[in-house]
Amino acid sequence: EDQVTQSPEALRLQEGESSSLNCSYTVSGLRGLFWYRQDPGKGPEFLFTLYSAGEEKEKERLKATLTKKESFLHITAPKPEDSATYLCAGDYGGSQGNLIFGKGTKLSVKP
């Protein structure tokens, strides 16, 4: 069964304290690995798509990387406004793109 597992479930950082979020995925059949940000009471907001091992993408303080079995979301010098739940999702091509999501990592950044 296709599976996406995220760790840790929750992460508390001080402002400026860099860290990484992990997403482990079932390798077989993966067409793309997606990262989304979700604020309370809102729908997920698209961040990145990664397609092949070794690929990296950056946006402001965020950088997403992909290996053959994991993806990492690196957060450099986070600010309180980076506080949110970060969701990882795999596209296994089951129906032209229905995504299989992990449970998310809830990030809290304290000033």
Binding site: V4, R31, G32, F34, Y36, G41, K42, G43, P44, E45, F46, T49, Y51, L87, A89, D91, G93, G94, S95, Q96, G97, N98, L99, I100, F101, G102, K103, G104
Partner: protein
């Protein structure tokens, strides 16, 4: 607005009642998805439309759930004989063509079944 919109934002109903949830996708997006998100969980796929047709409804939990997209734009998710276990946030997403294109999500409808 240019984003995906969903109405209502909140819906409270009683067990056994019928509800309809509406999704208005981004103009020009042919692919439309419905997901359900329970507290502390990631979104769970329900159904995918390409144009007017349901290309994949394998995520619908049972025959009480049904969705339509008659003109290839707005979609309605319909739930009959609601149960308390149906309480969740129902998210709609649209995508330019489907496949590997990124999906843009609406704010969701929070459904509470008493």
């Amino acid at each position: 607005g240019a984003g995906v919109s969903q109405t209502p934002s909140n819906k409270v109903t009683e067990k056994g009642k019928y509800v309809e949830l509406r999704c208005d996708p981004i103009s020009g997006h042919t692919a439309l998805y419905w997901y359900r998100q329970s507290l502390g969980q990631g979104p769970e796929f329900l159904i995918y439309f390409q144009g007017t047709g349901a290309a994949d409804d394998s995520g619908l939990p049972n025959d009480r759930f049904f969705a339509v997209r008659p003109e290839g734009s707005v979609s309605t998710l319909k739930i009959q004989r609601t149960e308390r276990g149906d309480s969740a946030v129902y998210l709609c997403a649209s995508s330019f063509l489907g496949g590997a294109y990124e999906q843009f999500f609406g704010p969701g409808t929070r459904l509470t079944v008493l």
